[in-house]
Symmetry: C2
């Protein structure tokens, strides 16, 4: 039987609130090893851009990562946020190791090809780009990898990458050696049947349920790409995907996704 | 016989000039493994402080690392500079792994005690604070550790630390298992007999020479603490200390320090 590996992803909503972040890290510390944390960005880089009198470049409502923005997200995500998380985890006995994809060449990304939009220094990646051998070594050595959403292309270029994509790619890649449980943690208790009712958590969704929930419009908007990602991870061999509240990891109410 | 380990330290003068930095990294890539790089800060954090309309806090001419400054140096040193160096090394075939002291608890520092001056979030450390077991594993796995000058205290606090001190502490600690050569790389070819003549490099300095050079005033000012540090490293077991030009690692002219 494969050993269990828990991969957690937290987003900007948790990172932007220091008390919430510390509470999540306290609960994450109690999760049995081996485990991996992937964190997103938060508002820091955008706020700094504005304080410097610069305007974020947007095309069709989507942020473009130009050279200045890349510098700032690298400073915030790989520097401040990643090191604060690592130091906090160390203080509660978790031997955290902060990583960008460039470190140990642990994730290699490809600059997103220019089609209608030039997204700038944004990286795309798949499970094939994850250096599972080194990650496995880190885990055996008792380390807890903490990924920031900055990767590299192998030619010296850093690339800003979506943290959901990193978490899914790492989970998929590691599922060859581990029974991987992928946790998407955010500010709700799970997928809600009624967006206005935080207790209306749908506790289990399989592929048939998912098709029906999509059809009926209950799952829509931002939740759609998340769930597409999640079901793809399951089809690729990830054991379980859980969507849960970042501040209530022990809550009974949460959404578990499975194929059948 | 112990295997050889080269520990290189580069300072802000090299980091602030992108072409110089890339040239150093190109030459560093050609050095045989195992090897370790320690980099200092550079002007980025101070310039950002000024662009944000903030004034660096100085006491008796010395910079104080307050909370805002700590955030900025963490962003620049652990984020931008460290990841750019790691990505550049990866592109030339060096499997670099960027590290703050918090990562893998690889260096633990102590906040400098407040005496006449409160330096703020500044860390002091010695060779006893270096996690040689994990560093040794990284080297065995073929990784090249790249240290930024940010460490932690084990209680969740990040601390700004002098890069010369980190390089000397790492060199000393690793000298139990390795024949360590510690390289201080800067913008001169070595210790100069005549500061105005870049070719007046003193090629070899032992403890007796050092006493005489100090006595005669040839070694003075900023070079004194560097050499004190270096001779202490030699006395602790480091095999050799070399002071050399960061852009001419293969130059025959350089200063080698040894005990006898």
């Amino acid at each position: 039987m494969k050993p269990e590996l828990n991969v957690f992803k937290i987003g900007g909503g948790i990172i932007d609130n220091e008390a919430d972040l510390l509470e999540f890290l306290r609960q994450f510390s109690a999760v049995a090893s081996p485990k991996i944390l992937v964190h997103g960005g938060g508002k820091g880089a955008s706020e700094m851009l504005q304080r410097l009198g610069l305007t974020p470049r947007m095309v069709h409502g989507r942020r473009i990562t130009d050279a200045v923005t890349l510098d700032l997200v690298t400073m915030f995500y790989a520097g401040k946020t990643n090191k604060q998380i690592v130091a906090a985890l160390q203080s509660s006995g978790v031997n955290a190791l902060g990583l960008s994809g460039a470190d140990g060449n642990v994730i290699r990304a490809v600059k997103r090809p220019v089609r209608e939009i030039d997204y700038g220094f944004v990286g795309d990646l798949s499970e094939a780009n994850v250096n599972t051998g080194l990650l496995h070594q880190f885990l055996i050595w008792g380390l807890t990898p903490v990924f920031c959403p900055i990767n590299h292309d192998g030619n010296g270029q850093l690339l800003n990458t979506n943290a959901d994509t990193i978490a899914a790619a790492v989970a998929k890649a590691m599922s060859k050696q581990y029974a991987v449980i992928l946790h998407f943690c955010f500010e709700k208790r799970g997928v809600l049947a009624d967006v206005s009712d935080n207790n209306s958590v749908i506790t289990k969704i399989n592929l048939t349920d998912y098709a029906e929930l999509k059809e009926s419009g209950i799952i829509a908007d931002g939740m759609l790409p998340k769930l597409e990602n999640a079901f793809e991870a399951l089809q690729f061999g990830v054991e379980k995907v859980i969507i849960e509240h970042a501040l209530h990891l022990n809550d009974d109410l949460k959404t578990t996704l499975c194929l059948t």
